[in-house]
Amino acid sequence: MTAAVVKPPFWLLAELTYRCPLHCVFCSNPVDYARHGEELDTATWKRVLAEARALGAVQLGFSGGEPLLRDDLEELVAHARGLGFYTNLITSGVGLTAARALALKEAGLDHVQLSFQDSTRELNDFISSTRTFELKSRVAAIIKDAGYPMVLNCVMHRFNLPHVGRIIEMAERMGADFLELANTQYYGWAWHNRAALMPTVDELRDAEAIVMAHRAGSNDHMKILWVSPDYADAKPKPCMAGWGAVFLVVAPDGLALPCHSARMLPGLHFPSLREHSVREAWFDSAAFNTYRGDAWMNDTCASCDEHDADHAGCRCQAFLVTGDAAATDPVCRKSEHRDRIDAALAGAHQREHVAAPLRFIPGATKGAGLVFRGNAMSLALSEPALP
């Protein structure tokens, strides 16, 4: 057992707002986001960015929600670039006009990551509950014309896995430098929609084979990342490269978090950057130190050869599936709760096969059993905060 050597954060993810024009069923924002406090103002964001940079943070993601809904985005990008950050915009593309793409370029934005839901208009629009497919195609061209490196991100699930070959071809056509095929991680809204989104292991293997064949047969420059579907692969992910190790999320209301999802863990009091400096939050807060290093691990993880590599997996997944955030990540074969993961996977086999391409008929949303992200649903699914 070794004491944690705490290095400064390398990655700062600035979730500027939870507001979003899309209603994606796999959104990683908290399900109770509509109950959270006001967004940080421009001056506070600038202070947070400066403090994180002074500690040594290098990569900065502007995310949300939809960060383009903040009309101070250009000002924050210019500030961040002046500090020396490599600046990434993580966007749905809604609101990214050619004029704004150029204004952001002038402010010093380095890179744009554009989310896509599918290679077809029907499924893109269905999954996001918006009509945005043509818009995203136009925005991809705007991003390339403005000279940005472009990463396309597509969250994968049972509805679009059969389309993976066409998604790759679409990304190539659009001139993406990098395609992230992000198999759904079951947190936030995706946790609520887990049964509906869960693919069978065979569907995952078929899609992965297409990705591998494409990688082997292609000599063009687009790189493809296939995010391991950890339920099926039974391999705990090295979540955030370790709790409080390299990754700092700042939520729209200023809460400092070790990942997108951790604020739902009970018993942890995450520091607010309205009252605390980034240094105090990262190095000194009890919450950031709770799962640092390996001193907190149970015997199964502490005695496992893999724990330096996978950091015992994901605390949020452990909590959601077992009720104990310190438990072994349940996707691991060594977890006493692995049967719960196997049951979720088995559930995917008991559904009717999804016809591809999907046909959309009135009532399809209800029929698919999906909960779409939105303010009213957020309020309905969560309890008011205690006064």
Partner: protein
């Protein structure tokens, strides 16, 4: 191999800068960073699309009072091109 007369430049995907916290030059790219050793940094800092490979070799030999750096520089540039760090 990289031609002696070519004028390499750091590719648009990458940004080269000095990082005080790392005490090193780094290449930044979407969501990542490569920490460079001193020879790599000294070569890449001169890849500005104006200097030729011969110019770069000449400058390095003068700056570090060394001779016969040409093969090392060209081998590094070939690797850098392979990784997509430079265009020419």
């Amino acid at each position: 191999m990289i031609a002696a007369a070519s004028r390499p430049a750091v590719a648009g995907m990458y940004r080269l800068q000095f990082e005080p916290a790392q005490d090193a030059w780094v290449l930044l790219y979407p969501e990542g960073m490569v920490k460079l050793n001193t020879p790599a940094a000294e070569i890449l800092r001169r890849c500005d699309g104006r200097r030729s490979v011969d110019d770069i070799v000449g400058e390095l030999e003068a700056a570090f009072a060394r001779t016969a750096l040409r093969d090392d520089v060209r081998a590094f540039l070939a690797q850098a091109r392979e990784r997509g760090w430079i265009s020419q």
